[in-house]
Symmetry: C2
Subunit: 352 residues, 2 copies
Amino acid sequence: MVQDHGLSDRKLIILKAIIKNYLETGEPVGSRTLSKYTDLNLSSATIRNEMSDLEDLGYIVQPHTSAGRIPSDQGYRLYVDLLMDEKEQELDEMRDKMLEKADKLDKLLKQAAKSLAVNTNYATMISAPANSRNTLKFIQLSQVDESQVVAVIVMGGNVIKNKMIEVDENLGNETLLKLNLLLNSTLNGMSIEKINLGLIASLKEQAGIHSHVVGDVLDAVAEAIHLDDDMEIYTSGATNIFRYPELRDNQSAEEIINAFEEKQQLAELVTETLASEDHNGIQVYIGEETPVKTMKDCSVVTATYELGEGMKGTIGIIGPKRMDYEHVMKSLKTLQSELDAIFYKDNNRKRE
Amino acid sequence: MVQDHGLSDRKLIILKAIIKNYLETGEPVGSRTLSKYTDLNLSSATIRNEMSDLEDLGYIVQPHTSAGRIPSDQGYRLYVDLLMDEKEQELDEMRDKMLEKADKLDKLLKQAAKSLAVNTNYATMISAPANSRNTLKFIQLSQVDESQVVAVIVMGGNVIKNKMIEVDENLGNETLLKLNLLLNSTLNGMSIEKINLGLIASLKEQAGIHSHVVGDVLDAVAEAIHLDDDMEIYTSGATNIFRYPELRDNQSAEEIINAFEEKQQLAELVTETLASEDHNGIQVYIGEETPVKTMKDCSVVTATYELGEGMKGTIGIIGPKRMDYEHVMKSLKTLQSELDAIFYKDNNRKRE
DNA sequence: ATTAGCACTCGGAACTTTTGAGTGCTAACA
DNA sequence: TGTTAGCACTCAAAAGTTCCGAGTGCTAAT
């Protein structure tokens, strides 16, 4: 994945040094600073020459004539690509914090977003996995009172949906029993995306006598299952954006925070990420590369996680371009496997 | 409720004019501006004299020697109190927007917060009503697979809670049936706050044979019901804060936004508001008065709404001290009655 | 009681100066 | 030939000026 940069070793070391230093300070870095910072004993003049070359090659830029250099998007890109190929270690006390509060999926994800934000000091988001690939585990209608029935739908990963249904006539116990039997025998274990209108129609037919009431019920169930409309997205640490002056001062900070509040734009980011998977599922968008124009002054690192069969969700970290890519990618990897682990544990427990 | 301000009519008019002008511009207002702005034809000099008096009385202050005056907290307070006593009218196209998307309570409140934010251009929050006063309508345990049972709990207002319960042994249909009967006959129609440990213990006893398994189940149910720990709070328009320079520039903006993200502090605001009801349930905290120190540079206007018997929630609007109190209070009133209306409609539908 | 007039204040805008980190280039050096 | 020292030059940011004008308080006249 490392593109063919034909850079001499020394140039590469210098470039890395520039980026690393800039990541820490956020200030343009000059030749003098570097001549001390790096191990190879080179005078500032020599470094200046190399830097001049690196600038010509497009890896670094000068914000203005008499300033030090900062990495260009292309420079970051090279840096990240190199990083990708280096092996990664473990790292976390995140695990503990995450597990202690998790009982339902939404709580879990909320918590995960938070740990990640605390751990990295960037803004984070996690999208709940789309249910379309999930399977139905259990479905049940129960009469609440004369005119109301509640449908309870349990899916894989113990995702639970509820739907109140208004009925005109009292259905009675037997009808309900029959309906429950029908629903469970037909739908159990079935993947959500296979439940289409044809199937629903056929179910209605089988329901027989009460078919019009039953129709309402089934419609409601179908609606509850196909909740595609609103994608759940949990965010945390949006205000971390303020830590980075280059974002805070730009009015872009407001827009970013707003994006985190509205979540609409984040949803786009999610679909984009899911669409183009790559590289262990970890992707790095630098500056203009990001699909969300609001974040053109940021870097966005995303990963997909998978709860069993095809239920994919997205994790995203949004920070300044000078984000600590190494740390971020480690944390993402960790969280990824963490989520996997939880799912499999859950799954195994069920199978005992 | 109007405190005894012994201000001459003229002083009052001038004070109002100052505040009104300041609400619009956000700039300190000087005598010259006023002498044109007001109807009563007074020269700037006269007004200066009056302003001098008003300053001595503490209603307005000079941010610095050679600047105009801005209202002090005390000045705002008088203004708001006067406003409170004047009659209010209707106003809304909020109604339409609100109703169109509401199906579950959480969606409804989220939507309400949003309309309110859009409508007022301030930051808003709505807390879901505490369930402690709510009543249980229906409760049911269902076997999902060999080792898992799902408890479905329906409360007034069709608030639905779910809880997955792990069981060691297969309970079997009959046991479940018995349990469901027991739970419903004992708990139905009961107020949540009346379900205490004693009652739970007695239930466990009655459950007989399976009491240890049943114990687990009941504990889980109890836990699901007593969800006090996490109060649900929906927010919207936090970024509206940025519209007001006096908040944006102060680093307080960040803190406020953060408060909206963390929601912890908002929860305090809610409990505070619910504790000290007053004045149609509408309260105005100006500057330092607010219970949340983070918002000492803001004004906070809160209202309580009630979904039937004692299920109270809180609506809050957070903005700059120079907020448009009149509009805000109108909007709050409207939303209040809106929520009431929805509840009663819902209630009547059930009773048909 | 109101107003005109005047000297005075002071924050903020605009402009200037200073500072210092940084550069490119050239000439000397290993 | 690659490296380094030295120097003149640049320019953003900080610090320091100046200027302006909205605003005040006070006094004297109406």
